[in-house]
């Protein structure tokens, strides 16, 4: 049994420490906003914040997250009021939306790191196959 702090809630979960955090969030805790896209840390759909930094979770052993603050898309705000969520709505960014939880958490993580917006645009490597990048760029620049 291990203890996880997710979105400021403490959970006791009965899993092995090598289970990827992604699947603990999705299958054990029911926090399905974080997505599986590749399982190899290639696409970024599984990105969450761990102690405020963006991390891909599909190969992140849950044991490594013990004692840390985990924030998923569900915990970013109670009412979609986070500035990045607001910018995503204002610029009508999502199409299918499947990659956008990870995209938003990646951008939030980089903002938390104090990166300038231009640098964030240069760094984000998350995949979006709907092709929403023009609106993502506009949304980031509007922050």
């Amino acid at each position: 049994m291990i203890t996880l702090n997710v979105n400021n809630v403490s959970y006791q979960v009965n899993v092995t420490t090598d289970m990827p955090l992604l699947w603990v969030l999705r299958d054990v805790l029911g926090l399905t906003g974080t997505k599986y896209g590749c399982g190899r840390e290639l696409c970024g759909a599984c990105t969450v914040l761990i102690n405020g930094r963006a991390e891909r979770t599909c190969e992140y052993d849950v044991g490594g997250a013990v004692g840390k603050q985990i924030t998923t898309i569900e915990g970013l705000s109670a009412d979609r009021s986070h500035p990045v969520q607001q910018a995503w709505i204002e610029h009508q960014v999502p199409q299918c939306g499947f990659c956008q939880s990870g995209m938003i958490m990646e951008v939030v993580g980089e903002l938390n790191d104090g990166r300038p917006k231009a640098e964030i645009i240069n760094e984000v490597s998350n995949i979006c196959s709907c092709g929403t990048f023009q609106r993502i760029r506009a949304a980031i620049l509007s922050l």
Partner: protein, 750 residues
């Protein structure tokens, strides 16, 4: 996918609306021909071809058999038959209803409809989301639904006030008595309105009074997609549910030799067979080509499936599935003739025209492409109850509810009334989620283990077992007359046929293999003589419908060749195209608009060059100008794209632009980097690490203008038409920039 079109008005005339009241709410639904809304279906093999345009013989008595519902709390609930896969269709279709219902948009709620014949897209007679056809299919009937409900609400108000209906006016969710200024809300009128006679010919809001149609209303699904609350197929959770991961035979054509023992820590291993109508090419009915490993979470199931030691029988024919050989075979057919050659268009005499002057002959090569929607294939199934009263409930990110119902009927043997299909959000569809292989597998597992199950493919399985966009080798031979216009155009596309894989005995031309290359299916260039042929390639790697289907192949060949002819005639490629569009004013106007937007012919920044291309498909016309540079060898930087679109009336212009932006990105990925090759029946791509898609920092600036349109022009689709022109536009710009003509895609194989 292009489907035979029937005018929506004709379709509607055979149906009528039915109104009723449930718990004080006004409910409007659709009656079907002859009052029958439950029709027999004889199984999946019979039912699947309805996806190809045959009448829908699959129907359900959907419990929520409503199109729209007005509650006493003023809420207007609209159920939409199309799947929401990012195209904004929930919003767009609801706009149609809201317009003629004259309701306050803030009170409108939209949900995905369950599977049911009343939700069939009138364009296809089946409930499926394909062919950029949702707006085209539902436009008239949803507007009429709104107008019908509105007139009944007005009639109820007139009855209440004992005044003639012409003294009552619908205003923003209320009815106003114009002589007394009394007001009743739709909610107050709802129950009574349901008792009014259903009007036969309600008036639609005139064009000059439209409030919602033509307006970029914000999408109803987007808030759910920024806070994690949107439920995709992958996110469905049921009590007592277990998780299944699929492992297919590593080569196409192979079968399971024996069922492996259940790995420790897992619940079961279930052999999976190919259901009739769900397998293509090498994957024939009845063969066991995969197993599912069931566990108590997805990770355990995927790990166990990945490491599962299974024995497969791989026939010698599988070892011959090599895409390089397919290309050589196509070249042989083009040089020496193919055993199965079908004429798609013959205008004038090519032979006569080619005998004059010196023709230009070029060959264009396009690879297999994977769909790879971001949400991998998955399906959740619960079979409950005791025979004969069992229910089969399915939650699926499906593009074809009609085929999903048919798949369930075929496997379970249950009648249609005991099958429920719930459509989730789709994390991308791109044509892949039209297929039913993953649905069939999930039902098989649920039946085998007698528990609710969510079945999922890994990304590796997704790339290994797609129904890919077919490869093609296209040879064009053309010559110009003294006025530098095309006098002869011989177009020969050698490619495997999607339709022949599904219906091998068909003798018809595969319309999707050649779409984009004939006068009827492509740009309406006037050539003096034209011959278009499809040389059927026998390669039996499973193939399917990939965003824009054949247009993605043929537009590259046609628009590259047009550029090459212009160069050979020493003409500007834009002006050269214009010369061939003098009898096509719509296409000419779109081309001119893109050229004007880009200031074609004006100064281009140093180190950059521009290319132009035109596409005409799904009832829409799209012209694109692209500006590129090549900062280092082996790379292209795309700076700007100017794009003009004529899709008829744009219902939600912002959604139209989003679809065109997305189509362009889809086309860029395929043009520059993506392909799937096969060696001994195995895909060269295994995950996102050995393919490549555009990144945020590489995204060009896309400028889109929608053409002002005559409201009498039929609606065009927008999901796919953004795709085809970008690859040739880039190739044309690259030639201008470097002098090198790229005729083989992708530009930069990974």
């Amino acid at each position: 996918m292009t489907k035979p079109q029937e005018k929506p008005e004709n379709l509607m005339s055979r149906r009528s609306f039915i109104a009723s009241s449930i718990a004080g709410a006004f409910v409007l639904t659709l009656g079907l021909e002859g009052g029958k809304n439950v029709l027999a279906a004889s199984g999946v093999a019979d039912a699947l071809p309805l996806a190809e345009g045959r009448p829908n013989r699959v129907a359900t008595t959907a419990q929520l058999g409503t199109w729209l519902q007005i509650g006493s709390d003023e809420t207007v609930m609209i159920l939409v038959g199309s799947s929401e896969m990012g195209q904004g269709i929930m919003t767009g279709l609801a706009q149609l209803v809201a317009e003629d219902l004259m309701v306050n948009w803030a009170n409108v709620k939209v949900e995905s409809a369950p599977a049911g014949a009343i939700y069939a897209n009138p364009l296809y007679h089946a409930q499926m989301t394909v062919g950029s056809g949702s707006m085209r299919g539902y436009y008239q009937s949803l507007r009429l639904a709104g107008a019908t409900a509105r007139d009944m609400l007005i009639a109820a108000a007139a009855q209440t006030w004992s005044v003639p209906v012409n003294l009552c006016r619908a205003v923003n969710g209320t009815v106003v008595n114009t002589s007394t200024n009394a007001v009743l809300t739709y909610g107050q009128l709802a129950a009574q309105a349901a008792q009014m006679p259903v009007p036969t010919n309600p008036a639609l809001v005139p064009d000059n009074a439209l409030r919602y149609i033509g307006t970029g209303l914000k999408r109803v699904d987007i808030p759910l997609k920024v806070d994690g609350s949107a439920i995709y197929g992958m996110d469905v959770r049921l009590p007592e549910m277990v998780y299944a991961a699929v492992k297919h035979c590593p080569s196409f054509g192979g079968t399971l030799a024996q069922t492996p023992s259940t790995p420790s820590g897992t619940i079961a291993v279930v052999p999976l067979q190919v259901l009739s109508g769900t397998g293509r090419g090498t994957e024939t009915t009845g063969m066991i080509n995969a197993v599912a490993v069931v566990a108590d979470n997805t990770w355990k199931a995927m790990q166990a499936a990945s490491y599962l030691s299974a024995n497969w029988n791989i026939p010698a024919s599988s070892l011959q599935l090599n895409s390089d050989d397919f290309v050589a075979q196509a070249e042989g057919f083009l040089a020496n003739g193919a055993p199965d050659t079908r004429n798609a268009e013959i205008v004038g005499s090519i032979r006569k025209q080619l005998s004059w002057g010196k023709p230009l002959t070029n060959t264009y090569y396009l690879p297999y492409q994977a769909h790879a929607p971001m949400e991998v294939l998955n399906c959740t199934v619960r079979i409950s109850g005791q025979a004969p009263n069992q229910r089969c409930e399915i939650w699926a990110p499906t593009q074809s509810q009609a085929a999903t119902v048919a798949t369930a009927m075929a496997l379970t043997g249950l009648p249609i009334t005991q099958i429920d299909v719930n459509t989730t959000f789709l994390g991308g569809g791109l044509g892949r989620k039209f297929e039913q292989d993953f649905v069939s597998q999930a039902i098989q597992v649920a039946m085998a283990i007698n528990r609710p199950v969510k079945l999922m493919w890994s990304r590796e399985e997704d790339y290994a077992r797609d129904q890919y966009r077919p490869m093609a080798v296209v040879e064009i031979q053309a010559s110009l007359d003294g006025e530098k216009k095309v006098k002869s155009w011989r177009y020969r596309n050698c490619s495997p046929s999607i339709s022949l894989q599904r219906r091998p005995t068909s003798t018809a031309v595969d319309g999707q293999a050649i779409e984009g290359s004939t006068t009827a299916t492509g740009v309406t260039y006037s050539f003096k003589a034209r011959l278009v042929q499809h040389l059927v390639h026998p390669a039996n790697i499973p193939i399917g419908y990939w965003r824009s289907v054949g247009n993605s192949i043929n537009t590259f060949a046609v628009e590259s060749m047009m550029d090459e002819l212009a160069v050979s005639a020493n003409l500007d490629p834009y002006q050269f195209r214009r010369q061939h569009l003098q009898t096509s004013p719509r296409a000419l106007a779109v081309l001119d608009r893109a050229a004007t937007m880009a200031n074609w012919g004006g100064a281009v920044p140093s180190g950059r060059a521009r290319g132009i291309a035109l596409a005409q498909c799904f009832g829409s016309i799209v012209a694109q100008v692209v500006e590129i540079s090549a900062p280092t060898a082996g790379q292209i930087k795309i700076h700007n794209i100017w794009c003009a679109v004529d899709c008829g009336r744009a219902i939600n212009p912002d959604s139209v632009k989003a679809q065109i932006e997305g189509g362009i990105v889809h086309g860029i990925n395929a043009a520059l980097w993506e392909q799937v090759k096969f060696t001994a029946g195995k895909s060269s791509v295994t995950n996102f690490n050995n393919t490549r898609k555009i990144k945020l920092r590489e995204m060009p600036q896309i400028n889109i203008e929608l053409m002002p349109t005559d409201p009498n022009v039929p609606l065009g689709g927008v999901g796919e038409p953004g795709v085809p022109a970008i690859a040739p536009a880039i190739a044309n710009a690259y030639f201008k920039l470097t002098g090198t003509r790229v005729r083989r895609l992708p530009f930069f194989p990974q």
